[in-house]
């Protein structure tokens, strides 16, 4: 059972602010989807290895070479707020 409190708690973790209407709708919808997912508890998975990835993954190393980075203006062009050399963010420390 998903409660309104759960939704508010999870929204904060996910860095979302939900409107009153969204909280109500999300409580209902998440509840239904979680109930649907609870079907998984029918299965006995004792001792079954979890599969995070279907491929056998291994570490990929590259040689430590100095290469040019992307041009600064190309990166800054996408920033919502910037000056000539920096991306601007709100003040963090008072």
């Amino acid at each position: 059972m998903i409660t309104r409190n759960d939704v508010e708690y999870v929204a904060n973790l996910a860095r979302l602010t939900l409107t009153e209407e969204e909280i109500e709708r999300m409580t209902k919808e998440l509840g239904a989807i979680i109930e649907f997912a609870n079907k998984l508890s029918d299965l006995d998975t004792e001792g079954i290895e979890p599969t995070a990835h279907v491929l056998n993954l291994y570490n990929v190393f590259r040689s430590d070479e100095v290469k040019p980075s992307y041009p600064r203006e190309k990166i800054l062009q996408n920033a919502p707020s910037h000056d000539d050399v920096c991306i601007k963010v709100p003040k963090i420390v008072e």
Binding site: I2, D6, V7, V10, A11, L13, A14, R15, L16, T17, L18, E22, M26, E29, L30, A32, I33, I34, F36, A37, N38, K39, L40, S41, L43, T45, I48, E49, P50, T51, A52, H53, V54, L55, L57, N59, V60, R62, Y70, P71, K74, I75, Q77, N78, A79, P80, S81, I87, V89, P90, K91, I92
Partner: protein
């Protein structure tokens, strides 16, 4: 009417110097002008660059220079593939103005083969959805019936091919997002084996499930596109260092001795009767051509959909945590402090379905629920993978419907997320197990809407799938199926 040709036919004409690349590109741009108002498959159209590129290709051809495998063929890309200098929105408000500083590896490969890029195609926001109704820009219409959805999330990619607005397109498939819209729009769509195609430059939805693949007019075009996009990429640690065969060599009109498994569970409740009949007819045709088929049972697939929604949403919530309004994309206007900026930016920037999945994923990953949902999902994934491995001990391919129904009406399922999720019931198990699968047209229903046949193969055995699909296509009369009234 050059736009009506398949990719391989158009390339052949340019190669033989019977038409110029420019004529082909102009023909498709003309077609886009003619039907795009109705279909709305594009988000961005790069007309000027396309014409410029075509001219360059023609000059190269005149001089006898190398023009790769594509000869300037006009194609288009789902708008979650990064294109250097061309905006890439993921159909989201949060990325509405994002211009990538680099190309995705698949885009680089297409450029090396001298494609002409027509533009970027509409999709469900961040590839989340089964109808392309979740786009922050507009809803794409099904070219077969403009009141119906094209499927999703690569709905723009499928509709563009069906409406002849591109010779082929690339989409991405996390739970069926290439195959289901291909099925609903009557085109060929392939999800390659996980790891076959580099995901570098694909905006991630669920990293362990996503795979890029082509949507094409026929199976030969699919093989051609696969030859270009597949291969190991050091920029993607999940790309498989496995040799890529020449897929056009698998275009063999012969299925003699082939063993086909038909899982009972995929033909039961929820699957529309007309769809079921079309699949049975297709199986009979393959049998008459020398293949054998039999029903078998794979009961674990009943758990595939909840497993998928847990794994996909968990990975999505983690991937989408990067959207904070700092380095790129949308940023809210008014805020108090940094946390408030994050929250308002994300709440204003993401659409309803994306928020729903972020919430579900964050919940499944949160302390106290991790074991019950996420870890459990990964364990069930092991069981699903094992069940398929076992089935492939007996069968060369597995055949199922691609979608339980044909295209549904716009608005019909938007208010019920669980019902919408059911659209993916036949495609999702393939992503969970990382297998390759193709959807090809196998008929139309009484409303004249296309039906798709799904052929699933062993990991890295796309060749057998292509062979079965090609044989079916050559003998069924459903090659390059077109909507009549557009």
């Amino acid at each position: 009417m050059l736009y009506k040709l398949t990719a391989h036919e158009a390339i052949e004409l340019i190669k033989r110097k019977e038409v110029k690349c420019q004529e082909v590109v102009e023909s498709v741009l003309e077609r886009i002008k003619q039907v795009e108002d109705k279909v709305k498959s594009y988000i961005t159209i790069t007309e000027e660059q396309a014409l410029e590129n075509a001219k360059k290709i023609d000059e190269k051809i005149a001089k006898g220079e190398d023009v790769g495998a594509l000869y300037g063929l006009p194609i288009a890309l789902k708008d979650n593939l990064c294109t250097d200098g061309i905006r890439t929105t993921c159909a989201s408000k949060i990325l509405y103005n994002f211009v990538p500083p680099y190309d995705a590896t698949v885009v680089k490969k297409l450029k090396e083969n001298h494609m002409t890029l027509l533009g970027k195609l509409n999709m469900d926001e961040f590839a989340m959805g089964s109808s392309t109704e979740n786009s922050a820009f507009h809803t794409t219409k099904n070219p077969w019936d403009l009141e119906r959805v094209p499927g999703g999330s690569s709905g723009g990619s499928a509709a563009a091919v069906a409406a002849d607005e591109a010779f082929f397109t690339l989409g991405s498939d996390t739970g069926g997002s290439i195959r289901q819209p291909a099925s609903l729009c009557g085109v060929v769509g392939m999800k390659p084996t996980y790891g076959r195609v580099s995901r570098f430059g694909l905006v991630a939805f669920a990293s362990s499930l996503d795979q890029i693949g082509p949507l094409t007019k026929d199976v030969e075009d699919c093989a051609l596109a696969m030859n270009i996009i597949c291969g190991h990429d050091p920029y993607d640690a999940t790309s498989a260092p496995i040799e890529v065969p020449d897929f056009t060599k698998a275009l063999i009109n012969d299925v003699k001795g082939l063993k086909i498994g038909v899982p009972r569970e995929y033909m039961e409740k929820g699957v529309n009767d007309e769809v079921k009949k079309a699949i049975e007819k297709a199986l009979e045709l393959l049998k008459s051509l020398g293949a054998q088929y039999e029903e078998f049972s794979i009961p674990i697939v009943e758990y595939a959909l909840p497993t998928y929604y847990i794994i996909a949403s968990s990975e999505a919530s983690s991937n989408l945590a990067r959207y904070d309004g700092i380095k790129y994309g949308y940023r809210t206007q008014n805020y108090d402090d940094l946390i408030d900026l994050y929250k308002k930016t994300r709440s204003e920037g993401f659409g309803a379905e994306v928020k729903r999945r972020i919430m579900l994923g964050t919940y499944a990953l949160s302390a106290g629920y991790y074991d019950a949902y996420y870890k459990k999902g990964l364990q069930v994934r092991t069981l699903i993978k094992r069940a398929f491995d076992e089935a492939f001990q007996k069968y060369d391919v597995i055949i199922t419907p691609t979608s339980p129904t044909t295209a549904f009406k716009i608005g019909e399922k938007v208010s019920n997320p669980l019902e919408m999720y059911m659209s993916d019931i036949c495609t999702v198990p393939v992503n969970i197990a990382g297998l390759p699968a193709i959807s090809i047209p196998c008929g139309v229903d009484s409303n004249n809407l296309p039906i798709g046949l799904q052929i699933i193969g062993k990991a890295f055995d796309e060749e057998t799938i292509i062979r079965v699909a090609y044989t079916f296509e050559q003998n069924s009369g459903y090659r390059n199926l077109k909507p009549q009234n557009l």
